[in-house]
């Protein structure tokens, strides 16, 4: 398996992660209404993707690894979608 790993990639990833941390804290102090949580989650997803692609080397990995990574999050999506479609609609008449 190719290890896509020059120091520059790691340092740039780290810098981007710390910048996104500052951004998420800054955004929390601006009133965006319901978009505060959406913005925070989008930034967290961006950080997660950076870690998965560059620190966990999924970017240079074979397709089997991509499938394994996607599977965990896909099943998480099923759990949230089915559960919330119940809890979020209980008030509907």
């Amino acid at each position: 398996m190719k290890l896509d790993a020059d120091s520059k990639t790691y340092l740039c990833t780290t810098a981007a992660l710390l910048a996104l941390l500052a951004l998420t804290i800054g955004a929390a102090f601006v009133n965006l209404g319901p978009f505060n949580t959406i913005a925070a989650m989008c930034i967290s997803i961006a950080k997660g993707l950076l870690i998965i692609l560059f620190f966990m080397h999924v970017r240079g990995s074979n397709h089997l690894i991509w499938v394994a990574v996607a599977t965990g999050f896909f099943w998480l999506g099923i759990m949230f979608a089915l559960s919330l479609s119940d809890f979020m609609t209980r008030g509907w008449k």
């Binding site: 790993a5 710390l18 009133n31 967290s44 966990m56």
Partner: protein, 212 residues
């Protein structure tokens, strides 16, 4: 990129296939971890939608400076871990030992900061139970989820720190990963996963309605 010096078990064609199988297995384990933490994130989501005001009020009483510092600590520890994995791959033993020790030290720092935070919260009567004194049952649910999720996460960090220390010791003592560095790879995957969990926990716990 097959390495003729590396050994592999007889059921694999070569060392590279063995490494890929091990990495695949680790990702299957991490998928179960995603669902394990996912159940708690789901519970959090349901209760936060049910009691948004109580969750916002409770969240404003968490220690943002501590939580934010801990994000930075774990992100930097992930970087040192990534460098450690590369050092193992390149057979740089001294660098591997020091990078692992730095990662373990940062993990310990995370736990120390979290410990101060817990001590502060317990002294403020924010631990759910008989001594809980803050708002009503809905705020108590926030702090119940807070202690549960950060506690399970801290357990994962503790396991990681212990494993990293053992790996550093083995690399230093017997150069254990010179011919077979896949275990360091897998340990790195675990550590990065623990980092990702905190990346998602942080805004959900510390950053609800900070602007009001």
């Amino acid at each position: 990129m097959s390495d003729p010096a590396a050994t592999h078990a007889h059921q694999f064609d070569d060392a590279m296939q063995q490494r890929e199988a091990a990495t695949f297995g680790m990702w299957i384990f991490l998928a179960t971890e995603v669902l394990f933490f996912g159940g708690m994130f789901l519970g959090y989501t349901v209760y936060r939608f049910a009691y948004p005001e109580a969750f916002a009020e409770a969240s404003r009483h968490t220690l943002l400076s501590f939580g934010g510092t801990n994000v930075a600590v774990l992100l930097i520890s992930s970087a040192t871990m990534a460098f450690a994995v590369r050092a193992a791959r390149e057979r740089k033993r001294t660098a591997l030992v020091w990078l692992l020790l730095t990662t373990a030290a940062l993990g310990t720092l995370f736990l120390g900061i979290k410990g101060f935070e817990y001590a502060h919260e317990i002294s403020e009567h924010l631990l759910p139970g008989k001594s809980f004194q803050f708002g009503g049952a809905h705020a108590e649910m926030f702090f119940y989820l807070y202690f549960l999720m950060t506690g399970v996460h801290a357990l994962h960090v503790t396991i990681g720190v212990v494993l990293i220390a053992i790996f550093a010791f083995r690399a230093w003592r017997s150069d254990a990963f010179a011919q077979h560095d896949t275990p360091v790879d897998l340990l790195g995957l675990y550590w990065h996963f623990v980092d990702i969990v905190w990346v998602f926990l942080f805004p959900l716990i510390y950053l609800i309605d900070r602007h009001s």
